[in-house]
């Protein structure tokens, strides 16, 4: 047992919100243990971030914490687990609902009622609460989460961010002392993601709810955490404070470290910062000793917010051209302008990150480019052809063997181009998230990898959802390879750090209009929400990456 856990669990078991003792678990039919010898104690009111790569056991741990393991998923379980003092072996998920709430990654499958009000009322009704108590509980949780205006809405009309808030509200409506969340921000834009994290922190502080939050984008949630638990191959690799976690991650798992921690570690600055505010305070304290003026990043663009004019890219061939593009969609209650007079030009070989809030029009723009939606006015064209990978790579995988999806030399060439080396007999649904992504892209590119057939434009719609940093690195390599072959690569993403690693240009959409279009360092160092962590810490125009940050900080010292 980790010493920190051992100390915490000794003598305080009765009041624990969640406790695992030597928990081991293996899914039915699996030869590999999803959880092994997990011992963990969570006290009431703690805010815990659960870190770890894809497949490290985070989701299994959360499922065990709410009783879905073993009651729903079956499999073999060993050891003991107690939630609010109740054993998960003796009580099912429904019986544990008043002591633990659970929010899964995909909000679509977590909503079972027609309206938001009915969805919030459902657990209370199942519990047999009086209508007056139910009405008050629904009203209070809606107010606490800022969603009273959503109560009469049908769930099919909600955006991803709204759905995730509703799912959180449902988990909280029974006022459980513990809530478990499995990557709840993976489908949210930076604004909605930050709002959700701080909402959790507020609930934690004001209601005293213990929070266990599994996340990949740790830079977003570490500042809110009291403690970090890192999972590694089904075991607890680390359990301690966020600052100690960063030191451990830099020494053992650099892919889990936050950009500002990497930046400080690379510049030999101590202590490691837990978030932007902390980093700024450390730098301010360090600078207050000297009287020299702060340096300025020399690669800064002359003027912030400078847009890319067509002249700056003259001479290269056009891969995507949109002129006064208007696209109207009808969600069911009348047509809505989703794209409003977009003018955009992307040149061959460019790597463009398409960013913006949920509902800003990113997916619609890519779908219009692929001819899946007709504009109501203006035009859009991709003269060199387009390969589009839509948001769910699983939609491309319809057969039971990789070899049946892609056969022959052209298929093998496509697999080689995306760097996927798996047996043709494997079932596509058994591949990891990153492998599925690559296979889907290979399917979209098959037969388009040679000479004239190479598409002028390759578009990926939010491919980094649920990916850890290692998988995102593979995707960056792939984008670089495609752009090296002359294709323009446009990736719609909410992940600012991924955009820093991949893009040389950023187009920011807001309410169907282009609100910023410039070189990546200009856009991602010129704002707050759509800015990298390095940019937010150092606030130097044009400085966005960890490497630049290290160089800047070293130069300062």
């Amino acid at each position: 047992m980790n010493p920190v856990t051992a100390e915490r669990s000794a003598g305080r078991r009765a009041g624990l919100a969640l406790e695992f003792e030597g928990l081991g678990y293996r899914y039915s039919g699996s030869e590999v243990a999803a959880l092994a010898e997990v011992s963990l104690a969570i006290e009431p009111g703690e805010f815990i971030v659960l870190a770890g790569g894809s497949g490290s056991g985070k989701t299994s741990l959360l499922r065990a914490g709410c009783g879905l393991i073993p009651h729903f998923h079956g499999g073999e379980i060993a050891g003991a687990a107690r939630v609010g003092g109740r054993s998960i072996l003796e009580s099912g998920p429904g019986e544990l609902a008043d002591v633990v709430g659970y929010v899964a990654q995909d909000p679509e499958t977590q909503i079972v009622s027609t309206t938001v009000a009915a969805e919030l009322d459902l657990p209370l009704r199942f519990r047999g609460d009086h209508p007056a108590e139910r009405a008050r509980a629904v009203e209070e949780v809606a107010l606490a989460l800022g969603i009273p205006h959503l109560l009469p809405r049908t769930v099919t009309t909600l955006s991803g961010g709204e759905l995730q808030r509703v799912a959180l509200a449902v988990a909280l409506v029974t006022r459980p002392p513990l809530i478990l969340l499995d990557e709840p921000t993976s489908q949210l834009d930076p604004v909605s993601g930050d709002e959700l994290i701080w909402l959790l922190r507020r609930l934690n502080e004001e209601w005293g709810v213990a929070v266990v939050l599994a996340e990949h984008r740790l830079e977003r949630c570490l500042p809110a955490a009291d403690r970090v638990v890192a999972m590694d191959e089904g075991r607890i690799g680390f359990d301690g404070t966020p600052r100690d976690f960063l030191a451990w991650a830099i020494a053992n798992k650099p892919e889990l470290a936050t950009p500002s921690a990497l930046m400080f570690a690379g510049s030999d600055i101590e202590p490691l910062p837990v978030g932007v505010r902390d980093a700024r305070q450390i730098l301010r304290a360090r600078d207050s000793g000297g009287d020299q003026p702060p340096n300025r990043w020399p690669d800064a663009p002359g003027k912030r917010g400078r847009g890319l004019d067509s002249g700056s890219r003259a001479g290269s061939s056009v891969a995507l051209e949109a002129k006064r593009l208007w696209v109207e969609l009808d969600p069911g209650d009348g047509p809505v302008d989703v794209l409003r007079g977009i003018d955009l030009e992307v040149q061959a070989g460019e790597r463009v990150a398409l960013m913006g809030r949920n509902g800003a029009g990113k997916s619609t723009l890519l779908r219009a480019a692929a001819g899946l939606i007709d504009p109501v006015s203006g035009r859009i064209r991709a003269p060199g052809g387009i390969a589009l990978l839509t948001q769910n790579p699983g939609d491309f995988l319809v057969r039971e063997r990789v070899g049946d999806e892609l056969s022959g030399p052209a298929g093998e060439a496509a697999l080689g181009a995306v760097g996927l080396d798996v047996s043709p007999d494997r079932d596509p649904r058994d591949l990891s998230g990153g492998e599925r992504q690559r296979l889907a892209l290979a399917i979209a590119l098959a037969g388009r990898m040679e000479g004239e057939a190479v598409p002028g434009l390759v578009c990926l719609d939010e491919p980094t959802r649920g990916m850890d940093r290692g998988l995102k690195g593979h995707l960056t390599e792939l984008a670089g390879r495609l752009s090296g072959q002359g294709a323009a690569v446009v990736i719609s993403t909410h992940d600012v750090e991924f955009a820093v690693s991949f893009a040389d240009r950023v187009v920011l959409l807001g309410d169907g209009e282009v609100v910023a279009d410039a070189e990546m360092p200009t856009v991602l160092s010129g704002g707050w929400y759509f800015a990298s962590e390095a940019a937010r810490v150092l606030d130097q125009p044009g400085l966005v990456s960890v490497e630049q940050g290290i160089e800047f900080l070293k130069r300062e010292t």
């Binding site: 079972v112 047999g128 995988l397 057969r399 979209a444």
Partner: protein, 296 residues
């Protein structure tokens, strides 16, 4: 952006949506009964118009229009098919000679009239179902069923959630099939349906897990807390009872009033038009004046 089906339930503060389930079921059930079983074209037309009026009155105009269009298409198909496959009837309008499978085809006025009668039933039934679907909250139906038959309610919950998701999934898989590269193996409809079913099973597991987490398996819920009655219940009880009695009377008394074979016969008495007019006027039960309180 998600697109709502025209007959999908949309919460509104209208009469049908606000009233309790039982009186609304009685009221719309009476329309369904008469539209499905009546043999009187006048009654069918007026009952359909009444159901449409009921839909317009509670904000389900889009569902009514959709149902009318779909019903009209199906009705036209019925008329054509019945005219071609049925050679009964004394009034031959056209002799179309020998057709493969059908043999000697004669189009008779009686067969067309019989087809139109079936078509009228289809249109009326579609309109009633459209109004029900757009105005009655499925959650309330599930709540009602849950107390009586828990497993059926679970199945209904899964279906009500998974059908729209499956429709969305199928559209996305279809789009992905269009986006496949030229050297990727082409996707047949069979493969798409297979993939959809596999995906739906995965989703069903997720939805079932969600229900489990909400406490679906608990036995606490009982009928001791009934939903609060609505101020609109009385009008639906009265209208529903009147229509139900009338529907049974019409089915008993009106059968055989309109005869198609061997010749068309439709003696018009007083009771048919009277019943038809009642069905039409009862459509206004869903209507209400204004909606705002009067300031004194």
């Amino acid at each position: 952006m998600k697109k709502l089906s025209p007959i999908a339930f949309v919460p509104r503060r209208e009469t049908v949506q606000s009233a309790s389930l039982a009186p609304v079921a009685l009221y719309l059930g009476a329309y369904l009964l008469v539209c499905f079983f009546s043999s009187d074209p006048l009654v069918l037309v007026f009952a359909t118009a009444g159901a449409a009026l009921a839909g317009y009155g509670c904000g389900a105009g889009r569902a009514v229009n959709f149902s009318l269009k779909l019903g009209a298409f199906l009705a036209l198909t019925m008329v054509i098919v019945n005219a071609l496959v049925t050679s009964r009837g004394a009034t031959v309008l056209a002799r179309l000679g020998d057709w493969p499978l059908l043999g000697q085809v004669e189009v008779t006025a009686e067969a067309i009239a019989a087809g139109m009668l079936i078509g009228l039933r289809v249109i009326g039934t579609m309109v009633v179902i459209g109004v029900w679907s757009a105005c009655v909250d499925p959650d309330r139906i599930l709540q009602a069923v849950h107390g009586i038959a828990r497993r059926s309610a679970l199945t209904a919950t899964l279906i009500s959630r998974l059908v729209p998701l499956a429709a969305t999934d199928y559209a996305r898989i279809g789009e992905a099939a269009e986006l496949r590269g030229p050297a990727a193996s082409p996707v047949s409809r069979g493969a798409m349906v297979h993939r959809l079913l596999a995906g739906s099973l995965d989703r069903a597991v997720d939805v079932a897990a969600t229900l489990e987490l909400r406490g679906y398996g608990l036995s606490a819920e009982s009928t001791r807390f009934r939903p609060a009655p609505s101020r609109f219940d009385r009008r639906f009880w009265i209208g529903g009872l009147l229509l139900t009695l009338l529907a049974f009377f019409e089915l008993l008394a009106g059968s055989g009033r309109f005869v198609t074979y061997p010749g068309i016969s439709y003696p018009v008495g007083a009771e048919g038009p009277l019943a038809a007019l009642t069905f039409l006027l009862c459509g206004f039960v869903t209507w209400r004046r204004g909606g705002r309180g009067v300031r004194r």
